[in-house]
């Protein structure tokens, strides 16, 4: 029978993992469980619930750092930062709705999945803002890495490795992240009715401009039709969206410059405050644009200009963020759910595809994460063993045997 262990202190966490390591008991690590469906299905005996390890340890706005327990809800962090007009620069997505939930998850969960929203193109992903942590390895040993200051190269940057490791290397209890000032103003320039190539050209020109674009997405007609923002939904055509953020004068000036840059490409519209924020939240959280619960959902990371071409490989519904470099794609669940078509298209251009949502049988049958070349797969396995030799932490969640 499966038991849930819910440590309330780092010492209890260490005890729990040390016990599991001694007894060869496999653990499923869970924050608030919002992304449980992300990864390969696991059959572990026990659940290690990390949600009780929550709370702010230190917030120093002028130092641009926040230290908190890994189980702290993102919502709580965002409220705290907003009070000092700051934010998490990587714009953590709330994938809860994609999995049918509504909750925003924890900072530990967002880091474990290395999620990043539209601002990735300007400020990087979660890993770029993850400065240090403490936790327990699969050996049951407490350890720490990184630091509590924004600039540090002392020792290996294990925070980067733990970001995106889906709980397979360590059970993290405390994290330090970089925080940034929130922009005064946000505006979005929309360009309508472009085909894929023309849309990518608009995004490339925007991102290659000096206007510090902080969001660059493309919604093909079907996706645009599902937006909650009227300008986008009612357009009846595809929509390319480019965001600028900053001080009032700067944002107005850069918007004007972008409109000049886009002259003659297609009809142009501007979104201000509420509408702009709403559109980018929809893009960040994905679910609105891919509403069909029956479909498999893929997340594809490709060289930005190649995104749409890879997306078209299956004929499924899709949209892209990160200037084309991040494609979200819904496919029919029949057969391999589009795996061969997507990965075949990717092989030619580089990148990787992750089956983010699908029923267990499909996630068990198809590699959820991109299969790796043999030398890299072997290295990844050795890295896993260096942290968790008995494979007790989220075993097999990323790759079989890892």
């Amino acid at each position: 029978m499966s038991t849930t262990l819910r440590p309330e202190t780092p010492a209890q966490l260490r005890e729990a993992v040390a016990w599991a390591a001694a007894e060869d008991v496999q653990l499923e690590l869970r924050g608030r469980g919002t992304k449980r469906g992300f990864g390969r299905p696991m059959q572990t005996e026990h659940v290690l619930d990390l949600s009780a390890l929550a709370g702010i340890d230190a917030y120093e706005p002028e130092e641009l750092v926040l230290t908190c327990a890994a189980g702290t809800p993102i919502a709580e962090i965002e409220t705290l930062l907003a009070g000092k007009r700051q934010l998490l620069g990587f714009e953590p997505p709330d994938l809860g709705p994609l999995y049918g939930g509504a909750d925003g998850g924890t900072i530990g969960g967002v880091l474990a999945a290395n999620l990043a929203g539209p601002r990735r193109v300007k400020l990087g992903a979660a890993r770029d803002h993850f400065l240090g942590f403490s936790g327990v390895s699969g050996r049951g040993e407490a350890f720490k890495a990184g630091g509590r200051v924004v600039k540090n190269v002392t020792g290996y940057d294990l925070a980067k490795l733990v970001a995106g490791s889906f709980g397979t290397l360590a059970a993290v209890d405390m994290v330090t992240v970089k925080v940034l000032p929130a922009p005064d103003k946000t505006r979005t320039v929309l360009v309508f009715d472009l085909d894929d190539a023309a849309a990518i050209a608009v995004l490339v020109d925007a991102l290659n401009s000096p206007y510090e674009v902080s969001g660059a997405a493309y919604l093909p007609t079907a996706a645009a039709g599902r937006s909650g923002v009227e300008y986008v939904r009612k357009a009846g055509v595809s929509v390319a969206a480019v965001r600028v953020e900053g001080t009032a004068v700067s944002v107005a000036g850069r918007c004007a410059a972008l409109r000049t840059l886009f002259a003659g490409r297609g009809p142009v519209e501007e979104l201000h405050s509420m509408n702009s924020a709403k559109l980018w939240r929809e893009i960040r959280d994905v679910a609105v644009f891919l509403p069909d619960r029956e479909k498999a959902i893929w997340r594809v990371s490709a060289p930005p200009c190649e995104g749409p071409r890879v997306a078209r490989a299956t004929g499924g519904d899709w949209f892209c963020d990160w200037g084309g470099g991040l494609v979200w794609l819904a496919t029919a669940v029949a057969g391999d759910g589009g795996a061969a078509a997507i990965r075949g298209a990717l092989a030619a251009v580089g990148g990787h595809a992750t089956l983010v949502r699908a029923a267990d049988p499909l996630r068990a049958a198809v590699p959820v994460f991109e299969p790796q070349a043999p030398a890299l797969a072997a290295l990844s396995k050795r890295v896993k063993e260096s942290f968790d030799p008995r494979r007790i932490l989220n075993p097999g969640r990323m790759y079989a045997g890892v």
Partner: protein, 495 residues
């Protein structure tokens, strides 16, 4: 500084090893003449010198792979080297090791404008990348002061920063992919032109790994369009405390400048005497704040920063009015190290990071130490991110001064850790801070880092003697001491 004991059996085979390496890298790819080896005996940390057993200069990935494979099979240590500007002794040779010089990997392979990246070989200089993309108005953001000389391979190994990394990030935030050759000769690609590497973020740990995990043979970096305008301000303060306050106030106002540097009185005077940048000489602290972006934004922010500075007690403020003047403002800061080099026979550059609010206390305690050690110190400071570069002035020809300078430096770094900071912000641990690692990390922390090293290089042949104060065998590190049934957790909530 204690380095791993040279392996006499390897040294005895020197001629045979040179011949074998010549088979792999023909022509002038192997150096074994004593006078030529001397050119490689140290890096930017010139206090340490050790000629290598041999130097090997491959020019293809296949050669790198074959050399490493051969060295692994024969138990030969390897020290990768770029331009040799490391300030932490990262490229310091070993008496029984070969230096693997990457200088011949000096080509820009591809510039992909549409995907905003450049693919280059590791021996291309940092500035060489910016130069290669400048014609279309692009640049590579991280800009170490050594950028004319240092290589991108060295930057990747050290995760180097520069005066613009507060806004644009360190090397790690600007590298998209690498090709890496492991000690067993296997070639792996991590990342690429896409924006996040799949699987474990091994790219993230390879950046900053100080040449201990693999040899980088290709790097894909992000390139950026240059800002429309950039203007710099000089702000002078009567005390370092008011200067530090001003930095905090600028950030608290939501402004992240393109660069924000601070210098103390000795550094200001040395730089001014060297490059005549027009720095005020009657201030205790000088801030250089650069704002970049669209014209309207820069003008707006300049006004706001000046108002903040006045409110925080600035007694001097000047804004650049043209590009030449902006460059002049920076010239003093960028030449700060050589400038200090002119006022003292030798200097020793430190690199700790502190929480910025502790600056006044750290400077005061450093001044005390300066008295106690009888050595002067000049401070340049990446003020925005709390990264301190105290320059300790000494004379290596005076008996005992180098040792005093080193002891002073170690005390400064211990102080950085004590106030919540770290040993190194951008120069790396190398040999220099190796034995101080224990002030920041306990045995568990260091063992876990070494286990990761074991996953890449189980025999510990790549750059040994760097970063880790005590080297353990991988077999010993991998062992687990478990006591079945002995561990219980009576207090742990269960459901």
């Amino acid at each position: 500084m204690k380095m791993p004991t040279p392996d006499q059996t390897v040294l005895a085979r020197r001629a045979e090893i040179a011949a074998a390496l010549r088979e792999i890298v023909p022509g002038e790819g192997v150096i074994d003449a004593a006078e030529e080896l001397r050119a490689y005996e140290s890096d930017g940390l010139t206090a340490y010198r050790q000629p290598p057993m041999l130097v090997c200069l491959p020019s293809t990935v296949a050669q790198v792979s074959a050399v490493l494979k051969y060295c692994r099979k024969n138990g030969i240590k390897v020290v990768p080297r770029g331009a040799g500007t490391s300030l932490s002794g990262g490229a310091l040779p070993l008496a029984d090791g070969i230096v693997l010089g990457m200088a011949k990997f000096n080509k820009v392979i591809e510039i992909d404008w549409a995907n905003r990246c450049a693919v280059v070989q590791p021996g291309v200089t940092n500035l060489g990348i910016s130069d290669a993309v400048a014609a279309r108005g692009f640049y590579y953001a991280p800009d170490p002061s050594s950028q004319i000389a240092c290589t991108i391979g060295g930057n990747v190994a050290e995760n180097s920063g520069g005066v613009h990394c507060l806004k644009y990030g360190l090397t790690t935030n600007n590298v998209l992919g690498v090709e890496l050759v492991l000690m067993d000769g296997e070639i792996v690609r991590l990342g690429g032109k896409h924006m996040d590497a799949g699987g474990y973020d091994l790219l993230g740990v390879v950046v900053g790994s100080e040449g201990l995990l693999g040899v980088v043979t290709e790097v894909t970096v992000r390139i950026l369009k240059s800002p429309e305008t950039a203007r710099a301000m000089l702000l002078g303060f009567p005390t370092s405390e008011t200067g530090g306050d001003c930095v905090g106030a600028i950030i608290a106002a939501g402004i992240i400048p393109g660069g924000m540097e601070m210098m103390d009185r000795p550094a200001i005077h040395a730089a001014e005497a060297f490059v005549h940048a027009g720095y005020p000489l009657d201030v205790e602290a000088l801030l250089i704040v650069e704002l970049d972006g669209p014209q309207a934004e820069v003008d707006d922010l300049i006004a706001r920063v000046e108002a903040i500075a006045r409110a925080r007690g600035a007694i001097y403020a000047r804004t650049s009015t043209n590009e030449d003047e902006r460059q002049t403002f920076w010239a003093g800061r960028k030449a700060a190290f050589p400038a200090v080099g002119r006022i003292s026979p030798d200097y020793y550059c430190m690199d700790g990071t502190i929480p910025r609010k502790r600056l006044p206390e750290v400077l005061a305690r450093m001044a005390e130490m300066s008295k106690r050690y009888g050595l002067r110190v000049a401070n340049v400071f990446h003020a925005g991110d709390g990264n301190l570069h105290p320059l300790i002035l000494y004379d290596a020809n005076q008996p005992g001064e180098l040792e005093r300078a080193e002891a002073f430096g170690a005390d400064i770094l211990r102080l950085c850790v004590e106030v919540g900071g770290v040993l190194t912000g951008e120069h790396g641990v190398g040999v220099e801070k190796r034995d101080l690692m224990g002030t920041m990390f306990n045995e568990n922390d260091l063992n876990q880092q070494q286990r990761l090293k074991c996953a890449f290089d189980p025999e510990g042949l790549l750059n040994p003697g760097k970063v880790f104060p005590v080297l353990h065998r991988c077999a010993e590190l991998g062992r687990m001491h478990v006591h079945r049934g002995a561990v219980r957790f009576p207090d742990l909530p269960r459901f």
